[in-house]
């Protein structure tokens, strides 16, 4: 026994001593939506974080957007969640209700991180059931109406008119020549979230709602049904096949000059900047005299409940959302307003207009069953574009939404 103790003591003396305990290895997951070299930018930012925090090492995993939901969900369900990740704004309520992420109210309050730092809609999207569950990381807003300047000029259309319900419809009529393969407005209703956010922005801009304050369905209100009827009235000016078309399909037609107006978030600008088109955009569309309300999109940073490194994860979140860092680590628009301002001025056309639309945008319903609501809304869009009476289609959708409980 004494011999063993002696050996242990000798070995202990022989071991080198380090100035700090074992490094924390923080696992961070994010998704990439554009070909912006995001992963490389994040790796560079991580180096400066590690320099500021020598006892923390960060492992960055960047997953392509289409695979992200499945891979993250599988990891979380399998007990292999990262320490910190981005999650889509529309998943926050479900992740919070599932108990897999940590509330961040106290931490945010003690670090003096508050709503003022971020766009109002982005901050709202991180709150559910009276608590804060994430910190806004990046944002964008649906929709901007990108237009082909040459086509509008040839048809003698004032681009500013696209911002009103009446003007957009009139422009669609003038710009559409089906026999010549020319279309006015790029509508889409495939099974995808882009279908829902565009529909929401027309509903919001007309004063309607998807869910009421009490959680019941708001799609049968006059304002919502009117917006649906308006969207239906635009169908003759859209390329054929709305029910299976996506924003990506409309982009193809816009880029080859067959389509005059496409709906996209500001994320579309890098693609258009590389094209030979003369393009510009207006911010959303609303009835005459009303302000267009966009639908917020974007991602929030969350800390997982199973993480053994919550403190380090929180430090990393604070770092990523800092004004001097946020713009360097996102491929949408930084959620930090100051960082967004600098980012938009450096990288986007019409930064003031984008900022204005971001300020006015509203988040999608904050419900733990949002993904089911969204699926019902896709069916609603397909019903409306298939010619179903909008009121009847809205009643069918509301029956399904209210049945979710």
């Amino acid at each position: 026994m004494r011999k063993m103790a002696l050996i242990a003591a000798v070995l202990g003396l022989a071991m080198p001593t380090y100035s700090h305990a074992e490094d924390v290895v923080l696992k961070f997951w994010d998704n990439q939506q554009t070909e912006s070299g995001l992963s490389q930018y994040q790796q560079e930012a991580v180096k400066s974080f590690e320099a500021e925090n020598p006892d923390i090492k960060v492992e960055v995993t960047t997953v392509p957007y289409p695979e992200y939901q499945q891979r993250l969900l599988t990891a979380v369900q399998g007990g292999n969640a990262p320490d910190v990740s981005t999650i889509d704004q529309i998943w926050v309520a479900a992740f919070a209700a599932a108990g897999v992420i940590e509330p961040l109210d106290e931490l945010a309050a003690s670090a003096k991180i508050s709503a003022d730092t971020f766009f109002p809609g982005a901050w709202a999207s991180a709150n559910y059931d009276g608590r804060l569950w994430g910190i806004p990381f990046n944002v964008d807003v649906w929709q901007f109406s990108f237009y082909n300047e040459d086509l509008l000029k040839a048809a003698a259309i004032d681009p500013a008119s696209l911002a009103t319900f009446e003007g957009l419809k009139a422009a669609g009529e003038k710009l559409t020549d089906e026999a010549a393969g020319k279309y006015g407005i790029g509508l889409f209703a495939h099974k995808g979230e882009d279908t829902v956010v565009v529909m929401d922005s027309f509903i919001f801009s007309n004063g309607g709602k998807v869910l009421n304050e009490d959680g019941s369905c708001g799609l049968t209100s006059d304002a919502s049904v009117e917006a649906l009827a308006y969207l239906q009235s635009l169908a003759p000016y859209a390329p054929k096949g709305i029910a299976n078309a996506s924003s990506g399909d409309m982009r193809e037609l816009f880029l080859n000059g067959s389509l005059a107006v496409e709906f996209w978030p500001a994320l579309e600008q890098p693609t258009l900047q590389k094209s030979a088109l003369n393009w510009d955009f207006v911010v959303g569309t609303a009835p005459e005299g009303k302000t267009p309300i966009g639908t917020f999109g974007g991602w929030n940073l969350v800390v997982y409940s199973d993480s053994p490194h919550k403190e380090a994860a929180w430090k990393f979140i604070q770092f990523l959302t800092r004004e001097d860092v946020n713009g360097k680590v996102v491929d949408l628009i930084p959620a930090n307003v100051e960082a967004a301002d600098a980012f938009l001025r450096a990288n986007r056309t019409g930064p003031e207009r984008i900022l204005e639309h971001l300020d006015n945008a509203a988040p999608r319903p904050l419900s733990p069953r949002y993904l089911e609501v969204s699926d019902i809304q896709v069916t609603l869009a397909q019903d409306v574009f298939a010619g179903m009476d909008p009121k009847e289609a809205a009643e069918k959708a509301c029956a399904a939404i209210d049945a979710l409980g």
Partner: protein, 296 residues
Amino acid sequence: MHKRNRWLAWVFLVPAMIPVAILMYYPMVGTAIESFYSTSFINPNPQFVGLELYRELFASGEFGTIVWNSCIWTVFVVLFQNLFGFAVALLLDRELPTSGLMRSLVLLPWVLPGVVAAILWRFMYDPQLGLINSFLVRIGLSGGGQAWLAEPATAMGAAIVAAIWKGFPFSTIVYLAALQNVDREQVEAATIDGAGAWRRLIHVVIPSMREVIVINLVLTTMLTFNYFDMIWVLTRGGPQNATHIFPTKIYELGFGQFRFGEAATYGVFSILVLAVLLALYFLARSAGGRRSMARG
């Protein structure tokens, strides 16, 4: 079998059975158990609800649509993949100078990754830019603008055509191998007896390929029933659920909406259908084996 040999057989079998049980049967049993619980991502503490999820499933009109779509999809894809595969195999069975090249070319759709093939067909079906509409306009059969994948009336048919194209080479290869094993003496004897090409095919060739045909039918049925990529890329089950089949619905419920319990109920039905098909496959194989022994 001697008792010692029986033990020895088990010794060799068990190392293979353990990973099979863990990787295949455990998830299947787990899925069946999960279908008796109300469980979703937001309800991480599963509640036993017995057959409630099945009751809800039958009560929803959607289940009937999925079953109907799955039947239409499977029957037509399997039927035409086999017919087309057999016809092409008959053509390739001839000794022509280009036979080798043709046999390689015919495999092309099958070796393409499923997602790539589906994207290719999505482009071809595009109402504005697609090759199919452009071809139909050129030959005067259409005025253009037909949205094949966006109309509930045509979406399933369009997906079926794409799946037939993707999968028929598998049947071609299977049938070509079987054709080359047909007893040439029997064919020659029928020719000498005055049988024409059609009668030789119906009365000599096809009967001698019967087991292979049955096995290929069962295999292609299983592959088609589970075929996910084509429909997911083409339509994601839309428009208005016109092309939703079991695998796309299970994926949508489980990974798209985090509704694991309901996804499991669809999964159980899927497993039951596949179990029946698997039983048919083994029956066909054992019947084939008995016939071979009787002949041999």
